[in-house]
């Protein structure tokens, strides 16, 4: 069954919590590198969490297109297609 965008966003928001060390407020415009200060190791762990949480693959090619939270939610909605 496909989740709608709001539902997907809520689940991702929960998954992002342990990675959001500084408690940055998350909006669709929040950037992973610049705002959340994710380094490459954090990105790897975070992507694995999302992949396992939704049982999807987000390839490196797709990751390259995802810079902010809103784009991630859109990508996950699409990948669950």
């Amino acid at each position: 069954m496909t989740m709608d965008r709001a539902e997907t966003s809520a689940r991702i928001a929960a998954l992002i919590e342990p990675f959001n060390k500084k408690g940055v407020e998350i909006t669709d415009a929040t950037r992973f590198t610049d705002d959340l200060e994710f380094d490459s190791l954090t990105v790897m762990d975070f992507v694995a969490e999302i992949e396992d949480g939704f049982d999807i693959i987000i390839s490196m090619n797709q990751q390259a297109e995802i810079e902010n939270y809103g784009q991630l939610v859109d990508a996950v909605v699409k990948l669950q297609g």
Partner: protein, 412 residues
């Protein structure tokens, strides 16, 4: 779109080098502490596979990939000299045009014999072997599933091709399986693994990982660069040692480590493998190896087939050094010695560089490895042993580490 500029107008220029400013600043910071540049060492004279002159000082080499000590083997040197005389200094051409000499065919035959495989293809470097094979066999719509700690040449091969790239946590069989399971049905799959991971010197559980890969219908490529000649009963690598070489579709290797010269290769039993010679761009669009290089490689590979005594001695040295450094109080990359590489973990880059310099003053060269080459942002002093290191040298090395560790404040 901006309008074209008239003759008397100019636009402000952006320096393309400004992206390197953070690295330039970091280097300046490190070197301003007065430490010798760890990436600017020059060997003035090489005395043997294990000793060179550095800054006028006789230095034990513990940071080369000369695992089997073949660089000064008299038969190897003689073969190279003969080929220089008979075939000249270089081929000045691609393997598919004028760059295939008898020596190139001979070295490929030697590789087929060494690995007991049907096909061998020699590239000008190991880097190009990974770059070429990976980017060519995995195309649009295919998936490459690879270990996150893979060598730069593997990552660059992925980047050059059009396949979807899916990394998994280092040596994590379950993480690999999850990703294979999620790949859409019908897509081509290539699993890329390494026998020995060169930063920490740890090996992969290839037997289990390859079994999983095969269960999901993936082809398997294993880079055995750091295990060739040393690991496995015939020196064929970690896959041979774990009894799963028959399930490996492509073995990637290099001449610049145990073989003792330069060059790269892929060996395979794939029935259509020979077509690679026409479609693999890093093979086609570069000059082939010089005749002297392939001649030294051929002689070296054939001698490595029967080098079991050297292998045993190298294992002995690896165990002795590993235990000696643990006993001295250093933190190492692996709990047990798994290869000829022993990685000593440093608290940070600054103290790593201090320790590196203290060792150099003792007369010991090791590799200083730092991010992004290292996993988990670690700074490492990487020791790689050579079969020509004597038992006495290994004891000397342990003494040098202990003294330098105290000088640099790494050991209490």
């Amino acid at each position: 779109m901006t309008d074209m500029l008239s003759d008397n107008e100019t636009q402000g220029a952006t320096d393309l080098f400004s992206k390197f400013d953070p690295l330039i600043e970091m280097r300046r910071g490190l070197l301003s502490t007065g430490v010798t540049d760890p990436f600017g060492l020059v060997m003035e004279k090489v005395i043997s596979p294990t000793v060179a002159m550095c800054n006028g000082r006789e230095t034990i080499l513990l940071g080369t990939y000369n695992y089997m000590g073949m660089t000064f083997d008299p038969d190897v040197i003689a073969a190279g000299k003969q080929a220089l005389d008979d075939f000249g200094a270089g081929t000045t051409g691609s393997r598919v045009l004028n760059g295939t000499y008898a020596g190139h065919k001979a070295v490929e035959e030697a590789l087929c014999d060494f690995y007991d495989m049907k096909h061998a293809m020699v590239f000008s470097t190991g880097y190009q072997a990974n770059l070429g094979i990976i980017s060519t066999i995995a195309g649009k719509g295919d998936y490459i599933v690879l270990d996150i700690d893979s060598h730069a040449s593997i990552w660059d091969g992925c980047k050059m091709g059009d396949a979807e790239v899916v990394p998994f946590k280092h040596n994590d069989i379950e993480a690999m399986e999850k990703r294979l399971r999620r790949i859409p049905e019908g897509a081509g799959k290539l699993v890329v693994l390494e026998g020995v991971y060169s930063m920490l010197g740890d090996i992969a559980p290839l037997k289990e990982m390859i079994a999983v890969a095969k269960k999901y219908g993936a082809m398997v490529l294993v880079d055995e660069a750091h295990s060739m000649g040393f690991i496995g009963p015939n020196g064929r690598g970690v896959a041979e040692d774990q009894g799963c070489l028959d399930d490996v579709d492509f073995v990637i290797g290099t001449f610049s480590k145990s073989v003792g010269t330069v060059g790269g290769f892929c060996v395979s039993n794939h029935p259509k493998f020979e077509i690679m010679r026409l479609v693999c761009r890093p093979y086609v669009f570069t000059a082939s190896l010089p005749p002297s290089v392939v001649a030294t490689a051929t002689t070296s590979i054939r001698k490595l087939m029967t080098a079991s005594e050297k292998r045993a001695h190298l294992w002995e040295s690896s165990r002795t050094l590993h235990k000696g450094l643990i006993d001295a109080g250093f933190q190492l990359g692996t709990e047990e010695p798994q290869s000829a590489i022993i990685a000593v973990i440093m608290p940070d880059l600054e103290r790593g560089a201090m320790m590196w310099e203290a060792l150099l003053h003792e007369g010991l060269y090791v590799n200083l490895a730092r991010p992004p080459a290292t996993p988990a942002n670690m700074t490492l002093l990487r020791c790689s042993l050579c079969a020509e290191h004597s038992a006495e040298q290994v004891q000397q090395i342990i003494g040098m580490f202990t003294r330098a560790g105290k000088t640099a404040g790494i050991l209490a």
